[in-house]
């Protein structure tokens, strides 16, 4: 007879694990099983750059131990790959041939780094991504002293800093678009950031698309539109893609952005199937539009909502903000909400200042704070984040009543003071 679990969770990352613990907490009598493809309990992917730089030990990266699952009464099966889901018969088929039956299924399959497989040289030894602990181990074992980091999202930025901290002599960050982290930052902020990176010895090249990886038997360089950069290894940080293969094959409806569409209770379009984490498309708390936020907090929170609801609760996931946060090794960047391009020029007011080494850029839309970008400090981050969350609902938001467009004379300081006063109730 096949094993049967009340709640079966595919994926043992942040979302899957928090779903398991939330389910057990909601209804301790239910049997809960977590399947993980890696042979490791949940660890912090955002901490991987610190593992690479040597700042954190291997143990320091784990969030939970195997024994934590055990003592909570959760069955943990690691190193198991799922071959298919049969939603009709409520079964999950493992690569080993075993079938597991479920009462409720939670998909937390996460995301996969995007790889340019067709580009020349990307299959050579020396090409790395940074998604799992195995990736970091491989990179650490490979060695070298010159690295090219492609892409300037969180992986690219933190990866290049980590490689520098690890002792690489030359680290070159290459971004194909015109400035760094263009999805999250405006050009002005990106320039500030580039200056910080350069002060740490990272060379920044923007507007240069990578055309190929050079080398015969292993990576010896990277060719961009403008030059050849000799290097020992390439770290690819060009983006992540929700891992929806299993869901797609099982006929679970995907959203317009290509991830699993979930409602506010984290239910998918199929009954008895929930989803959470990097593989889902939820709602942007600020714009109300579908969004895929590949970030720790939405995974963790969405996971606990999915887990609790699968166990019979009625929790609601309120959507998440677009957050870009890096605060390590002297590099401190925070971007929340919209960028300038996402706000129509007629409604947009941009305030910017640099004071005591802290760069701050506030974007107002129709008199409401809609975006924040800071470099150099996380001071007042809580206030700005709270304001953005509240402003999601205009009727309840903190209007700054700033005249639009540019004739306004107020400064970043004025706005901060206003917001502080508002918060005081």
């Amino acid at each position: 007879m096949d094993a049967c679990f009340d709640i079966l969770i595919i994926g043992c990352g942040a979302a899957g694990s928090s779903a398991a613990f939330a389910a057990k907490k909601t209804s301790p009598a239910l049997s809960v099983c977590v399947l993980g493809s890696e042979d490791l309990p949940v660890y912090s992917a955002p901490a991987l750059p610190d593992l690479l730089s040597g700042e954190l030990s291997r143990e320091g990266v784990f969030v939970r131990e195997r024994s934590d699952y055990e003592s909570a009464g959760i069955v943990l099966r690691l190193g198991e790959t799922v071959r298919a889901i049969d939603p009709e018969r409520r079964e999950v088929h493992l690569e080993s041939g075993e079938a597991l039956r479920y009462g409720e299924l939670i998909l937390a399959t996460g995301s996969q780094p995007i790889r340019l497989r067709r580009m020349q040289g990307t299959d050579l030894p020396g090409n790395f991504v940074m998604k799992s602990m195995a990736d970091v181990d491989a990179m650490a074992a490979y060695g070298g002293s010159r690295a090219v980091v492609v892409g300037s999202g969180a992986i690219g930025l933190e990866g290049s800093m980590a490689l520098k901290a690890r002792g690489f002599e030359q680290v070159t960050l290459v971004e194909a678009l015109d400035w760094l982290s263009p999805k999250s930052l405006d050009k002005e902020t990106s320039d500030e950031l580039a200056a910080v990176l350069e002060s740490f010895g990272v060379e920044v090249l923007t507007g240069e698309a990578v055309q190929g990886v050079l080398g015969e038997t292993r990576v010896t360089g990277v060719r961009t539109a403008k030059r050849d950069i000799p290097c020992d290894l390439v770290l690819w940080g060009i983006g992540m893609r929700p891992d929806v293969e299993l869901a797609k094959a099982a006929g679970i409806p995907l959203g317009q952005l290509g991830a699993i569409r979930v409602d506010e209770r984290m239910c998918t379009g199929l009954s008895h199937v929930y989803a959470c984490g990097d593989c889902v498309e939820s709602t942007d708390a600020l714009t109300g539009k579908p969004a895929v936020h590949l970030f720790w907090e939405p995974a963790q929170r969405g996971g606990s909502v999915a887990g609790a609801n699968a166990a019979g609760a009625d929790e609601v996931y309120q959507g998440s903000l677009a957050v870009f946060l890096t605060n390590k090794g002297g590099l401190s960047i925070l971007a929340l909400g919209k960028t300038a391009r996402e706000i129509t020029p007629e409604e947009r007011v941009i305030l910017q200042e640099k004071r005591d080494g802290v760069f701050r850029r506030l974007l107002l839309e129709d008199g409401y704070l809609a975006g924040v970008q800071t470099v150099g400090s996380l001071a007042d981050a809580d206030l700005l984040c709270a304001v953005l969350k509240r402003n999601a609902e205009r009727s309840n938001g903190w209007s700054l009543a700033v005249p639009v467009p540019e004739e306004c004379r107020c400064s970043v300081r004025d706005v901060m003071r206003f917001l502080r006063r508002q918060r005081r109730g």
Binding site: E315, V316, Q318, A386, K389, R390, A392, E393, S395, N396, G397, W398, Q422, R423, R424, G425
Partner: protein
């Protein structure tokens, strides 16, 4: 909606005799467990000797015009409805207690689930066209629930007779009583 037309709970302390019927019906109506009290009859002593007196003041949510709790709530769980009622969306509440620190009247309550709840002006009854439980059941008619302008009218009718003072008070009050 104009402020005049917004609903308020008006408390007439001169009429409250401290029977606590409002507390009881409120608990029943809102099915409240031990702990949270949406309204509470508070006592205050005034005067000395012959003028010493125990006063009673029921304190439900004041449904403030510019409610400090609504402003203070970082998650936007509180909002003021068009008709003036201040309501909590408990699903958005994280239990940070900012509303309690901001409220001058100590109104926000926290049940065992740790999320905030408070007097809703019995919005479910209002929406059905009936009065909040406290107002409907106050034997002394010390709790009124109506729009600001109606309350003003009711109070004028209630006290118009006796509000005159000064040298012609007796005559004027006599006329008003006729």
């Amino acid at each position: 909606m104009e402020v005049r037309q917004q609903r308020i709970l008006y408390i007439d302390p001169a009429r409250c005799m401290g029977c606590r019927a409002c507390e009881t019906v409120c608990k029943l109506e809102n099915d409240l467990p031990a702990g949270p009290r949406y309204t509470m009859v508070t006592e205050a002593e005034t005067g000395e000797g012959e003028t010493e007196k125990l006063n009673f003041l029921p304190v439900p949510c004041q449904h403030c015009g510019d409610a400090p709790c609504v402003r203070a709530c970082p998650t936007g769980a509180l909002h003021k409805r068009e008709d003036g009622v201040v309501l909590t969306d408990r699903r958005k509440c994280v239990g940070c207690h900012e509303c309690l620190w901001a409220c001058p009247f100590g109104v926000p309550q926290f049940a065992s689930d740790g999320r905030m709840s408070k007097c809703t002006m019995c919005v479910h009854r209002l929406d059905e066209g009936t009065l909040p439980a406290c107002a409907a059941n106050c034997p002394a008619e010390a709790i009124l629930c109506d729009t600001v302008e109606n309350i003003s009218r009711i109070l004028r009718e209630r006290y118009g007779k006796t509000v005159f003072c000064g040298p012609f008070a007796d005559r004027l009050n006599g006329e008003a009583a006729r």
